[in-house]
Symmetry: C2
Subunit: 345 residues, 2 copies
C-alpha cells in the first residue's frame, strides 16, 4: 500500500562513494580485485542508501536468475490435501535455499494454465524446473521441454515412448510393494488383496506390478482399482469385502486409502490385524501413526526425494564438460523404501 519509493541505483551509490558504477558492481558481487579502502567506502554508501541490486537488470545481462520453478500439475482438488507434495516441497526448498536459489511455485489447475506456465518458463524467469506430472496423458511435460530449460521430474514419467531422455527421481515403488506383500505372506496370510491407486500414474502402476510379482495370477481377482483418497479406500474396501468376504490381508497403495480401509473394516466388525492385516504405503506420519491401529507401511523418504531433485537440477549445468561422457549423467534416481512395522500387520 505504501507508494513504491524509487529505489537507489548503482549510479547513486557510485556517486555517493565517489567511484564508478563498475567498481560498485564489483564490490556488490564479492569485491574481488578492488582495493580495501574503496571496498569500505562503497559498502558504506550501499548501507547508507539501502541499495539492493535490481534483479531484472542483472538477469538481463547475466542470463541467470538464481531461481527454480516447481511445477505441480494436478487438476484435482487433492493437490495439497495430500501431505506428499508438502514434504517434497520442504526438501526442495531446503536444498534451493542452501544454494541461494529461490523457489517459484507454479500451480496448474487445468489445461488452461498450461500455456501460461510454458510461457513463464520460457520467459526467462528461472534457471530450471522441477516438475510433478502425475498422469500419463499430461501434455505439460512436452510443453516444458519445448521451453528448453533444464528439468527434473518428480516420479518416473510414464510416456509410452521410452526414447526421451528425462531426468527424474522416484521411489522404488515396485520393490516396496513386493516387500509389503511378502510381509503379509510371511504372516501366513493367503488371501491378500490390493487396493490400487489411479493406474494412469506410474507410482500406482509400479506398486501393482510389485504386488503381482509376488502373488502371480493368484492375486488378480483380489485387485481393486481405486484412487489414492481415503474415500476411495473405503469404497474399494467395501467392494472387496462384498466380493471376497474371506480376505485376510490388504495391501493398500497408500496410507490414505489404508486409513479408509481400516474404517470400513472396523465398521464391518473385522479385527485388525487378527482377522485382516493391513499394510499401507508412504509412511505419511500424520496418517500412519494415528490410525487405529497404527499402520504398518512402506516408508519412502519423500523430503529426501525433493532434496535430490533440487540437487540434480542445480548440478546439471556443471556437467557440460564432456559430451561423450554424457552417459554418466543419471537419467533416473530411484530411492529405496523400507517397511515400517506398526500394529496393523
Amino acid at each position: 500500500m505504501t507508494e513504491a519509493a524509487p529505489r537507489p541505483t548503482l549510479e547513486a551509490v557510485a556517486a555517493l562513494a565517489g567511484v564508478s558504477r563498475a567498481t560498485v558492481s564489483r564490490v556488490v558481487n564479492g569485491g574481488n580485485g578492488v582495493r580495501e579502502p574503496l571496498v569500505e567506502r562503497v559498502r558504506r554508501a550501499v548501507e547508507e542508501l539501502g541499495y539492493v541490486p535490481n534483479q531484472a537488470a542483472r538477469s538481463l545481462v547475466t542470463k541467470r536468475h538464481d531461481a527454480v520453478a516447481v511445477v505441480i500439475a494436478e487438476p484435482e482438488t487433492r493437490v495439497f490435501a495430500d501431505p506428499f507434495f508438502a514434504l517434497q516441497l520442504r526438501g526442495i526448498s531446503k536444498e534451493l535455499t542452501a544454494h541461494d536459489n529461490q523457489l517459484v511455485l507454479l500451480l496448474t489447475e487445468g489445461r488452461d494454465d498450461h500455456t501460461r506456465v510454458a510461457r513463464y518458463l520460457a520467459g526467462g524467469h528461472v534457471d530450471g524446473a522441477l516438475v510433478f506430472s502425475l498422469h500419463l496423458d499430461d501434455p505439460l511435460p512436452g510443453l516444458i521441454q519445448g521451453a528448453g530449460i533444464p528439468t527434473v521430474f518428480g516420479g518416473r514419467p510414464g510416456w509410452s515412448d521410452g526414447t526421451r531422455d528425462v531426468v527424474y527421481v522416484d521411489s522404488d515403488n515396485r520393490q516396496g510393494a513386493r516387500e509389503a506383500v511378502r510381509h503379509l505372506a510371511g504372516l501366513g496370510r493367503t488371501r491378500i488383496a490390493h487396493l490400487t491407486g489411479p493406474l494412469d500414474q506410474t507410482s500406482a502402476a509400479d506398486r501393482l506390478q510389485g504386488f503381482r510379482d509376488v502373488m502371480g495370477d493368484a492375486g488378480t481377482p483380489l485387485v481393486v482399482e481405486s484412487d489414492f483418497t481415503p474415500g476411495g479406500g473405503e469404497r474399494a474396501m467395501r467392494e472387496l469385502l462384498d466380493r471376497r468376504p474371506d480376505v485376510d490381508a490388504v495391501f493398500a497403495a497408500n496410507d490414505l486409502m489404508a486409513s479408509g480401509a481400516l474404517r470400513v473394516l472396523r465398521e464391518r466388525g473385522r479385527r485388525v490385524p487378527e482377522d485382516v492385516a493391513v499394510v499401507g504405503f508412504d509412511d505419511m506420519l500424520p496418517v500412519a501413526e494415528q490410525t487405529d491401529p497404527p499402520l504398518t507401511t512402506v516408508r519412502q523418504d519423500i523430503e529426501e526425494m525433493g532434496r535430490i531433485m533440487a540437487r540434480l537440477l542445480l548440478r546439471g549445468p556443471d556437467r557440460r564438460a564432456g559430451d561423450d561422457a554424457r552417459d554418466e549423467a543419471p537419467s533416473g534416481v530411484v530411492l529405496p523404501t523400507t517397511l515400517v512395522r506398526r500394529a496393523s500387520a
Copy 2:
C-alpha cells in the same frame, strides 16, 4: 539438461516480419493500433520463431512483474503438515492466476532466511507480498515493510504497537470460539474445558478470548495451553483428565488437537459425545470428517481467505486516487465463521 538454445528476440521477429521492433512489441502486447494484415504477419513470425518475450527486459522498463510473493514464516516443522496453508495457497493461486499473476512462494525456515527474503522482495521480482507471520515476535514483517512493497497479511498481526496500518485478512476467531462454547453450554454441559493453541499467535489468543467471553472466570481452571498439533492435543487432554476428571466438554482450538483429544478420550474409556462432548475449530475436512466420531467444529473458509488476500493486494495500487479518502481502505477484513454440527457434540 538441454543446453539453453539462444531464444529469439524481438529484433529477430521484426526482421522476419519486415516491420520494426515497436510494431512487434505492440502486437505482442495486445495488438492495439496495428492494422490487421501486419498483426497477422507478426503473429506468423512469432509463431515460426517460437518467440517468447523476455520478462527481465520487460520488467526493467515497465517496473511491473505480474508476480506476487507468498511468504510463509514458519520455523517449525508443521509448515505444511497442517492443511491450513495448503488451502490458503489454493485460494491465492486461483485468484492470482485469474489476473495473470505468478505466485512465488518463499519459505523461511529460520532467521537466517529473513535477510534473503527481504533482499528478494526489495530486489524487484514481485509487485507485492502476501505474508503469513504467525508469531508475535517475528522480525520478518518489519523487514518486509522495509522492502517497501505492498503487503497483505494472513491473520491479524499481533504487534503491540497498534499504530502501523497494515492490511490483513482473518477469520472471526473470537466470535467462532464463542459460538462453539455456547453450543456446548446449550447441550447442558457445565464443565467446559479449552485446549488452546500457542498463545503467541493471535488466532489462538483470540479463540481463548472467545472462550473467556462466554465462560468468564469459571472457565480459567479448565484452560490447558497447547500447540495446535495432534500430539499436543493428546498431551493437553491427558493433563486435563488427570486434573479434572469431571470434565464434560472440550473446545479444542483446532481440529488437529481435537483429533488428538478424541484418541485420548477413547483410550481412557470416555464416550464421545455422551460423557464428553468435543468441538474443534477449522473444519479441516480430511481431519474433521474422518475422526471417530466425526467432529463438530467451527468452520472458516480458508480458501476464501486466500482469495481475498490476493484480491486486496492486486487492487491495492488502484486506490491511490484520493489520499484523503484513505480511510476507506480496509485495513482488516474479518470473515465470519459457522458452526458445523457432526457427531462429537
